[in-house]
C-alpha cells in the first residue's frame, strides 16, 4: 500500500524538511530543518504524521494525489488551502483520495507553510535525516528544491487522524536576543541604538539568511573588522563590511568571519522567520537563563 503525490506547482524554495540533521557541523553541514519548527510540529500533530514534510513559501504549492489515499496536515503562517476547489480550514487536516487536487495560495501573513503526511515519506535518509540542505545539496529529493513533476511516495498511508490541538498563542512584541559572540567589539552607543532603533525585513531572504534594512543607520559607521572564522549558530545576527545586518537561519554557513552582535533566542526564531519582507521589527535583549525559560514554557 502506498500513495503517490505529484507536485503540480511549487515555488523555488519548496523543500522536504524534517527535524534537522544534527551532529554534522564538524563535517561542514548545518542542521537545516524547518524555518518555523513550531508550525512544522503543529502540522504533524494535526494529522498524526511521521518523519518529514514539505515546507513551502508564499509562492504556495499545488499537488495531485495520483494514487492511494492519505491524510495531510497543514500549518504555518496564514495560507488558503483548497481541496478540489473547496476552501478548507487553516491550520487543519484533510484526507485526500486518488485524483484529488490540493492547492495552497498565500494568505495574509507568514513566509513558510508546512504539509505533513499520515504515512512514511519514501526518501533516502542522508546521515539520518530527510532535511534538504540548500548549501550542502543533501537530503530531500536529490538535495534540491521540489519542482513541478516531482512525485513523493508515502508508504503505509492512513486517513487523517486529527488530534485535539490547543491553538498556540502568537507572541508579539520585539524579537528577543542574547548578546552575540562579538558584541563587545561594537561601541556602547551602537549596541544601545541596536536595541532602540527599528529594522525592516528586506526582500533578500532565504533559508540561509535574512537581510535587514537598517533605515535608522545603526551600522552606517560599521568598520570592516578582520576576525578569525568562528562557529555560527542559527539566529546569529552578523554585520557585513558595508553595515548590512543579516540574520543567519537554518541553512546557515557553519562558520563565518563577520562580527556578530547578537543571537535571536530559540523561542523567537520561528516568529522571526515568518516576518514578511517589509515588516518592521525591534530587538530586545534578554539573559540566556530567561531565553531558556521562555523556550521551556513555550514547549511544555
Amino acid at each position: 500500500m502506498s500513495a503517490i503525490i505529484a507536485i503540480t506547482r511549487a515555488g523555488p524554495l519548496t523543500s522536504v524538511q524534517d527535524d534537522g540533521r544534527f551532529g554534522q557541523l564538524r563535517h561542514g553541514i548545518s542542521a537545516s530543518g524547518p524555518m518555523d519548527g513550531a508550525s512544522y510540529r503543529l502540522a504533524g500533530a494535526l494529522v498524526g504524521a511521521e518523519q518529514g514534510g514539505v515546507e513551502f513559501t508564499t509562492a504556495g504549492l499545488a499537488l495531485r494525489l495520483q494514487s492511494g489515499s492519505c491524510g495531510v496536515g497543514m500549518a504555518g503562517g496564514s495560507f488558503v488551502a483548497r481541496h478540489n476547489g473547496a476552501i478548507v480550514g487553516w491550520p487543519g487536516a484533510v484526507t485526500l483520495e486518488a485524483g484529488d487536487e490540493f492547492n495552497i495560495t498565500p494568505g495574509s501573513a507568514g513566509n513558510y507553510g508546512y504539509l505533513r503526511f499520515a504515512g512514511r515519506l519514501v526518501l533516502p535518509a542522508m546521515m539520518g535525516s530527510l532535511a534538504t540542505s540548500s548549501r550542502a545539496r543533501l537530503g530531500g529529493v536529490a538535495g534540491r528544491a521540489l519542482q513541478v513533476g516531482d512525485v513523493l511516495e508515502l508508504a503505509e498511508p492512513r486517513a487523517a487522524a486529527p488530534q485535539a490541538i490547543a491553538a498556540a498563542i502568537e507572541a508579539e512584541g520585539p524579537i528577543r536576543f542574547v548578546w552575540g559572540l562579538h558584541a563587545e567589539l561594537f561601541p556602547t552607543q551602537t549596541r544601545q541604538r541596536f536595541v532602540e532603533t527599528g529594522f525592516t525585513v528586506s526582500r533578500q531572504l532565504d533559508r540561509m539568511g535574512v537581510r535587514l534594512e537598517d533605515g535608522g543607520g545603526v551600522f552606517a559607521e560599521a568598520r570592516s573588522l578582520s576576525l578569525v572564522s568562528d562557529a555560527i549558530v542559527p539566529g546569529d545576527i552578523q554585520i557585513l563590511g558595508d553595515g548590512t545586518p543579516i540574520v543567519l537561519m537554518r541553512d546557515h554557513q557553519p562558520t563565518g568571519g563577520y562580527p556578530r552582535i547578537a543571537t535571536i533566542i530559540s523561542a523567537d526564531i520561528d516568529r522571526f522567520a515568518q516576518l514578511r519582507p517589509g515588516s518592521d521589527l525591534a530587538f530586545a535583549p534578554v539573559s540566556v537563563a530567561h531565553a531558556q525559560q521562555l523556550l521551556r514554557n513555550q514547549q511544555s
Partner: protein, 223 residues
Amino acid sequence: MTGSTVTDTFPTPTLVLLGDSAVLVRFGTVLTDVANQAAIALTGMLDREPIEGVLEVVPNLVSVLLRYDPRRSAAADIAGQLRLRLFALADAPALAGQAWTVPVHFDGRDLESVANLLKMTIPEFIAAHNAAPLRVLATGFAPGFVYCGLHGEALVAPRRTEVRPMVSPGTVLFAAGQTAITATELPTGWHIIGRTDFGNFDPTAVPPTRLQAGDAIQFTVAA
C-alpha cells in the same frame, strides 16, 4: 609526525554563551598555532570524555563549540563540566592525528602570481610549500572543507581582493599562511594554486569526511 606535539602552554580559554543553546570555548581571537592546538586537544578530550547533555562538539580554528538542548540542560551545568575538563587539558595526551599524503596538480591560475608575491620561482614555491607536513587546523567551513597550516613566514600571502564566484571541488587554495582544500563548489577570495583528486566529502559514507582537525597532511606533486 603529527605536528601536534604540545610545546607551549595553552592560552587561557574564555567561555562564551553562544545564543541559548551553545557554549563556545575560545582560546584566542586571532589564529595562532598554540590556540589552534588547544582547540584540537579539547575536542579530542571531549570526544573521549563526553559531557552529559552535550549534543555536538565542533572544533574551529581557535575555539570549540558545544551544542546542547536548553530544555534538558542548563548552560551553567555544561560550563561547570567544561571547566573541570579545561583544568586537565594541559596534561591531556597530545592528539595522535592520522597522517595523510595529498598529491596536488600545481597548475592553479594564481600559482604564478603567488610565487611572484613571495619572490620565488614556481618550483621554489612548490618545494617550500611541500617541504614539511601541515596540520589540519579546522574543518567544516563547508562540507569537507579543510584548512591546513600553518606555513612559515616566508609563505604568508594576503587574500585576493576579489572573490571568485565558484571554484570546483578539489581546488587547492592558498592564503594567510594556510593551504585549504575544497570538497564542494564554493566562492573564494583565496589564491588558487592547484587541484587534487583527494576527495574529502562523501555524503553516503560514515563519517562523511576523512580528514579531521589534528591530522597531518604531506602535500606532494601529483604524478
